[in-house]
């Protein structure tokens, strides 16, 4: 299946990517996506091998690493928010 992945703030800058299309097996969890991204090595590993401080949203709603992703979803990874 195909999803869109977005990166924000420090992650976007470090990875040099804002958004990408991504193909992955059905019923993947956000945790599995995170792990696949980490396996790209380099700055990807730096960002995604962390066990803390990686937030995820699925279709513009806050999600958890256990959330299951379906075809066409928009998954976003970002650091803890600091607005206000």
């Amino acid at each position: 299946m195909n999803i869109t992945i977005c990166y924000f703030a420090r992650f976007r800058e470090k990875l040099g990517v804002q958004q990408e299309n991504y193909t992955l097996p059905k019923n993947s969890t956000c945790k599995e996506i995170k792990s696949m991204l980490s396996n790209r090595g380099g700055s990807w590993q730096e960002v995604f091998s962390c066990t803390q401080g990686v937030l995820v949203a699925v279709n513009q709603e806050m999600a958890t690493l256990d959330s299951v992703v379906t075809d066409g979803d928009e998954v976003a990874f970002f650091p803890p928010v600091t607005g206000g």
């Binding site: 928009e74 976003a76 206000g84």
Partner: protein, 153 residues
């Protein structure tokens, strides 16, 4: 309920916004304005840059306001959060709440700010005097603690 939730580059004029909440039965209007502070732990701030997640940020703010409406009898809520490049002392955010009585207005305004600080997708980068690169602001534990107090009630 009067509701106005906006993410924008433009500045706001407090009076114009607040007066939208002067409805017949409003006895209390509490407003919070967040400003760009000069002093940071690592130097003197010149400006900040606010990044956001357009498709999600508006939804997140609306969800936060709905939670506040469920907790308190509110007559109106305004949330304006600015994005982009802002210099010292500029207004970043306005949260204004009207209610019949002051307790609900105070509580709801603080609730919305505490949730916004930890749940709404905004990220702040600080530009420090004498440094060419901006620095991403780290999330604060105190903000998570502020949130926790609402989860107990």
């Amino acid at each position: 309920m009067k509701k106005n939730i906006i993410v924008t580059k433009a500045d706001f004029v407090l009076d114009e916004e607040i007066k939208k909440l002067y409805v017949d039965n409003a006895g209390a209007v509490v407003s919070f304005v967040g400003l760009v502070r000069e002093q940071a732990s690592h130097g003197k701030v010149i400006a900040i840059e606010l990044e956001y997640y357009p498709a999600m940020t508006q939804k997140a703010l609306e969800g936060i306001v709905e939670q506040a409406e469920q907790r308190w009898p509110l007559l109106g809520v305004i949330v304006i959060h600015r994005v982009g490049y802002l210099t010292v002392q500029e207004q970043i955010v306005l949260v204004a709440v009207a209610s019949q009585h002051r307790h609900a207005a105070f509580a709801a305004a603080e609730f919305i700010m505490d949730y916004l600080k930890t749940q709404a997708p905004f990220w702040k980068k600080e530009y420090i005097a004498g440094q060419s690169e901006g620095i991403w602001v780290e999330a604060k534990d105190s903000d998570n603690q502020a949130l926790a107090k609402w989860l107990k009630n």
